[in-house]
């Protein structure tokens, strides 16, 4: 190893230091993956809990890369299982929100290519769910044979109905039954939306009862892009019943949020009779 454990420790500390700018931290997982050792793999595994989803993705990608080059360096660890449970919860939460925002979407991520018009918000939610699903499969690839998991991922996200069925069969064979069930209920096109929503409710311990509730959640989301999309939807549809919620949105986080907030607020004001 060229850099030694000292460099790995330093990189791990920077990676987990929230005061270091994100663009710098985002480069560290790839750097750690280029120092292949059990030590760098452990440093990455210990850094999986990140509030920024993009950062979590970068850490996972680095771990996947390390595992493919040196499988022995990345043994299955309890951190992967824990993070898998967290990501699955997040995925079903997004599912609840998408189903409330656009029941016609079926709560699936795979409509981008096949559907015609859809709102910016629905599409943004699908994209976020696609990223969540990719992180879930990347975690699975750290616990199970990576090649099989990768093929299953492609089958679910890009494949025909036949490839999806094959992917499902592979996962059924590989995963523990409870994990298989939790994962596949959201993905199986044969399972009706109502059943999926009920499952998500049980798993998350709460429901999203209405479209406006889903919009409220998104307006206050830490994800600035989803928040901007929700603001746009409220303004576009002149949902005056959400006027107070809009006024509470912290809109100074960037020019896009600020501009969209101003636009939505103006439209809501104009929609309320004097």
């Amino acid at each position: 190893m060229q850099y030694g454990p000292l460099a790995v420790n330093m990189l791990r500390d920077y990676l987990n230091n929230a005061t270091v700018p994100l663009p710098i931290r985002k480069q560290i997982p790839n750097m750690l993956a280029r120092i292949p050792s059990p030590h760098s793999a452990a440093a990455l595994a210990e850094s999986l809990i990140q509030s920024d989803p993009g950062m979590r993705y970068d850490v996972l990608k680095a771990l996947n890369g390390l595992r493919s080059k040196e499988p022995g360096f990345v043994p299955p660890r309890s951190e992967f299982e824990d993070m898998l449970n967290i990501e699955l919860l997040g995925y079903y939460r997004s599912f609840q929100i998408l189903a409330a925002i656009d029941p016609g979407s079926g709560g699936t991520i795979s409509g981008i290519r096949s559907r015609g018009w859809e709102s910016v918000l629905t599409r943004a939610l699908r994209e976020r769910m696609a990223y969540e699903l990719e992180r879930i499969f990347r975690l699975l690839a750290l616990l199970y044979p990576p090649r099989d998991i990768h093929n299953a991922f492609l089958g679910f996200t890009m494949g025909t109905a036949q490839r999806q069925a094959n992917a499902q069969e592979v996962l059924e064979h590989l995963l523990r039954p409870d994990l298989y069930r939790r994962l596949v209920i959201g993905l199986d096109p044969e399972i009706p939306l109502r059943e999926k929503v009920l499952f998500a409710h049980r798993l998350c311990g709460s429901s999203v009862k209405s479209r406006n509730e889903a919009l409220r959640i998104l307006l206050h989301s830490e994800d600035g892009w989803l928040s901007a999309c929700a603001l746009y939807t409220v303004g576009e549809e002149r949902l005056t019943e959400l006027k107070n919620e809009v006024s509470l949105v912290p809109h100074d986080a960037g020019p896009l949020l600020e501009e969209t907030w101003q636009w939505a607020t103006t439209r809501l004001k104009a929609a309320i009779p004097a």
């Binding site: 910016v120 943004a124 901007a228 746009y232 501009e259 636009w263």
Partner: protein, 136 residues
Amino acid sequence: MLTVMEKVAVLQNVEAFRAVPTQSLARLAAIAQEVDYAAHQALFKDNEAADSIFVLLEGEVVLVRPGREGKRIGPGQVPGLLAFLAGDSEPESAVATQPVRALRLDQEDFYDAMAEDFNLTRGMLRTVVRWAAGTS
């Protein structure tokens, strides 16, 4: 003037950008300028450098290539995209047949956005591959 989100709402329904994630479209929207053309005015002329593309919002444009019948296109279409991506000169002229409103994207800004955002680059690559394969 359209806001960035209003431009995203337009761009996400443009075939050429369907493989680009919405958040990356916001990047394009931020650099897209609204432009207006009067009837008979040229958006670009053949043999000129293809250094801009136009996403048509309103009106109609005719694409004129010497020796061929003109092709009429309207809202949601993007004349000049392939030459723009290839860095070629325009193979045809685009002339407004009626008042046209469009979003103009300049090449240098577009390339900067692609350099900064891999999801944008990947989306555009998918578009080009699908076009090449004839599956779009």
